[in-house]
């Protein structure tokens, strides 16, 4: 099985590659269109700013390659946000795989800190998402200031200020707002589940 991690300017790519190696999977980090198109599994990670990331994806043509993928594809963090139609961060038009719009957390008061940083639990709300059913209420690691509201493609939610999309799915596209590559054993199980799809 060939596993590809998409290389672009909003990468946390090495961490993702390390996490896959820990579960015995070799992944290639590349921005080569042919290799990405022919991969069995594609991971679209991300840390950074939505506007700059989308600009880079358009310039390199990676935007069209990602949206045309047929094999299981997993967006992580900014990856999930870029798969939506629009992000409030930098007022950015995104890939539109999910019709949802990404918005910024609004703090009711200083007891809710932004970024949402640390470990929180996921509640599974739909079947056949990226998180195995028996992992309901698992702890996963977050660090983000923007989020996808709960919508028709949401498969798991986390509650911070209000419930938001922890995980999403549409056809062959999967996404998590949390970082499975940094979520300890729970994260490893989720990544393994993705590789087993």
């Amino acid at each position: 099985m060939s596993i590809v991690i998409i290389k672009y300017n909003a990468g946390n790519v090495y961490s993702v590659q390390c996490a896959l190696a820990r579960i015995g999977a070799d992944a290639i980090i590349t921005d080569n269109a042919d290799i990405i198109r022919n991969a069995d599994k594609v991971i679209f990670p991300g840390v950074g700013e939505a506007g700059a990331a989308m600009h880079h994806l358009r310039q390199t043509g990676l935007d069209k390659i990602i949206t045309s993928l047929q094999k299981p594809t997993l967006g992580i963090c900014i990856g999930q946000q870029l798969m939506c139609s629009h992000s409030e961060e930098g007022n950015t038009e995104c890939l539109g795989i999910f019709p949802d719009k990404v918005i910024r957390f609004q703090q009711p008061d200083n007891t809710f800190k932004i970024p949402h940083t640390g470990w929180n639990t996921v509640q599974i709300t739909a079947e056949k998402g990226i998180i195995p059913q028996e992992m309901n209420d698992a702890w996963v690691y977050y660090v983000h200031s923007y989020y996808v509201p709960v919508g028709s493609h949401t498969t798991a939610v986390t509650n911070y200020i209000s419930p938001f999309s922890a995980a999403m799915k549409r056809n062959n596209f999967y996404a998590t707002q949390f970082h499975p590559e940094k979520s300890g054993d729970a994260g490893s199980r989720i990544l393994k589940h993705f590789l087993d799809l």
Partner: protein, 251 residues
């Protein structure tokens, strides 16, 4: 609910973990990668690695260490020590660090906070502050607590937030290494005044100190070093205690 975080801090010199009492008298506490993995297994929520090596050779050793930590540890980790420009940050993030922490260099050049936040996002930028309370005033110190800066803790923390810091890591020099509890009053003020997460550091000696800083100061995370390295406090038992006492903790 978002969990309160327990963070062991590993000071690294020439590839080995060390921890001082009140910033001097270093004692050896083992291999940093192995320690990190043990902490992760014991339930640590994040790790912090601080490079206290001054030499150029030592810096290269530290980047190699960051790479090995990324390969072997499955929880987030922050690295710091000697970061003075965006290029240093780029090198460490590429080696697999999740966040970086800056201290003296941010005081000398506050623009560095903005530069890091703009380039990599606020979430990677942890601003660490060492401060000492004297006559009621909390003054920030540079160079590992050796040089007074003239800056007030609360004013500097607020400025760091406005410039794009993603978290504040505050160490009370009065409390560090003394094991009589965290600087709860100052931490509570920071927590109430800032919109970003606060990591408490300095003074942890017992389970109840951690309870106190979460329940009464409202901080998001608590950091300690020697009490974990020398197993005076076991992280899994600490977490059991906190859960029993109603603190939201990942287990």
């Amino acid at each position: 609910m978002l969990a309160k975080r327990i963070i062991p801090c590993l000071d690294v010199k020439n590839g080995t973990t060390v921890k001082g009492v009140n910033f001097v008298n270093f004692r050896n506490a083992g291999d940093p990668v192995e320690l990190g993995r043990q902490y992760s297994d014991a339930g640590a929520d994040e790790l912090v690695y601080l490079d206290i090596t001054a030499s150029h050779e030592g810096r290269k050793t530290f980047v190699d260490l960051v790479r090995r930590v990324a390969a072997n540890v499955s929880i987030p980790f922050t690295v710091g020590g000697g970061i003075s420009c965006v290029t240093d940050v780029d090198t460490l993030l590429n080696a697999g660090a999740d966040k970086i922490t800056i201290n003296s260099s941010a005081i000398r050049n506050p623009q560095l906070i903005s530069d890091i936040a703009n380039r990599f996002g606020s979430q990677v930028c942890v601003v660490a502050i060492d401060a000492y309370q004297d006559n009621g005033n909390w003054e920030c110190y540079l160079n590992g607590g050796r040089i007074p800066s003239g800056l007030n803790l609360f004013e500097w923390a607020h400025q760091a937030q406005e410039r794009g810091a993603g978290e504040i890591l505050f160490t009370s020099m009065n409390h560090d290494g003394v094991k009589t509890g965290f600087a709860t009053t100052a931490l509570k003020t920071l927590s109430q005044n800032l919109t970003i997460p606060i990591i408490a550091s300095g003074g942890a000696g017992t389970y109840s100190h951690f309870y106190d800083v979460f329940a009464n100061a409202g901080v998001d995370a608590a950091l300690a070093a020697s009490i974990f390295h020398f197993k005076e406090i076991e992280i899994n038992l600490l977490k059991d205690y906190l859960v029993k006492n109603g603190i939201t903790i990942r287990q």
